[in-house]
């Protein structure tokens, strides 16, 4: 399989391990990633909060560059990026009158032909391949955390169920993990307030951590860099808020799949977390 790849800014910095683990795992599964040439930031929350046209033009440039590179499908592992790309694409599909302005702003022709997919969709397609290649089953209890942007709003993302989604649970089961029942799968972690309202992030993400532990999970599994930052980088604030020392790690789905495939924990960026993944070393050794 050959597919376009849009890492997005978080994957170059604060969530490097998501990029590392996605590339490592997909390579092991014989997927060729073609990075969108000269890609720019999707605008994230900041663009749509401050300027509607900007929130269309930034994703449009990325999609136009992908078209120009002859790509028909682009994987955006970051849930926020894939959500912004899909939102802009759909808005432009419904408002053809905006195309001229957008094309002028981006200085490129835009056709709207690229299909944007998230990491769970791609891994789901490879599920049988993953099952065959699993050499070190990840036999842990996991809380699968989808967050907001993968499943909402359903009219835009059209992926899984907006309440109680299942795709990540099935994928985790395929690599030997046991998903726990928990009601916080799609509760918000505090998202983009990590810097400006860390107090809110501590409260919202705190609820997730607390409940995942209560239900016996060994790890919280995510597919979004913002969710991961809030659950991992902000753990000190979470623990301070809850007056408790929670040590449950937050892992990217690609890291879990990678460990099950017997890949090197370092190549999966597992050493980059603030909350250490204690069992990562032994998991790799099982293979």
């Amino acid at each position: 399989m050959r597919i376009g790849y849009y890492p997005g800014c978080s994957l170059l910095g604060s969530s490097r391990e998501f990029d590392e683990s996605a590339r490592t795992v997909l390579e092991a599964l014989d997927v060729e990633l073609v990075e969108v040439p000269d890609w720019n930031c999707c605008g994230a929350s900041s663009a749509h909060i401050l300027n509607h046209e900007l929130s269309l033009a930034l994703p449009a440039r990325i999609l136009a560059l992908a078209e120009q590179a002859g790509l028909t499908e682009v994987l955006a592992p970051c849930a926020a990026c894939s959500n912004r790309l899909l939102s802009a694409q759909q808005h432009l599909e419904q408002h053809r009158e905006l195309w001229a302005g957008v094309q002028e702003a981006i200085g490129l022709p835009y056709k709207g032909t690229v299909k944007v997919v998230n990491i769970l969709e791609v891994l789901d397609r490879l599920k049988e391949h993953i099952a065959v290649k699993t050499t070190a089953p990840f036999t842990k209890k996991v809380a699968s955390y989808y967050g907001c942007l993968l499943v909402r709003p359903p009219r835009i993302v059209n992926f899984d169920r907006p309440e109680d989604p299942q795709s990540m649970d099935r994928l985790l089961q395929a690599v030997g993990a046991i998903p726990v029942e928990w009601p916080f799968k799609t509760e918000c972690c505090g998202a983009a307030f990590s810097v400006t309202r860390t107090d809110l992030v501590a409260r919202l993400s705190g609820k997730l951590v607390q409940d995942a532990v209560k239900r016996g999970a060994d790890a919280i599994v995510v597919a979004c860099p913002m969710c991961h930052s809030n659950l991992d980088l902000r753990r000190a604030e979470i623990n301070e808020h809850l007056q408790e020392e929670y040590t449950i790690p937050a892992m990217f789905i690609t890291q879990v799949v990678g460990l099950a495939l017997g890949l090197d924990p370092k190549a999966l960026g597992l050493h980059r977390h603030m909350v250490p993944v204690e069992f990562a070393e032994t998991a790799g050794a099982l293979s």
């Binding site: 910095g13 490097r16 720019n40 994230a44 981006i106 909402r152 980059r272």
Partner: protein, 189 residues
Amino acid sequence: MSSGTHHHEHADTLAWRVRQATGVKLAHCYQCGKCAAGCPVATEMDTTSCQVLRLLQYGLPEYDERVLRSESIWLCLACETCSTRCPQEVEIPKVMDFVRGEALRLNLVHPRGKDILAFHRAFLDSIEYTGRLYEMGLVADYKVRSRHFLKDVLLAPKMYVKGKLGLLPHLIRNRRGMKQLFKHTIGKG
């Protein structure tokens, strides 16, 4: 049409501008309260999502202003829980986006919304010049704008050790194109 007609009064309201800009019809809300019930930040809000919609429905200038001056519009996380559950499919985050823009334009931003605004401005400035987000630059710029100089001084070195904080920005090749893009959108004024 004389200035006293319903139509003209209507055109002056924030609800009307919301509809013009976003297509969202606020009249569709029948106040079931499901949006506020599922909102993760409802307890922090001075005016909940449901109340924001109700205030806008009246079309009264004093109520419009109450919404524009509220802290709530800056607390919306755009998590889309409300719009997903709304039985009338009112796209509330779209309303929040638009109303924030209006609060900014009319200079009515809530004092506590100013930090959040400073963050988003710093974010956009960063990508305007480099094409990609420069996280370290963003945090530094935010500190200057918000005057929260000591925020996260302990976290940054830890992130650096973990290889999560690049000291230099990632530059795209076509930075002139990026300037052009900003000029044609947000820079139109």
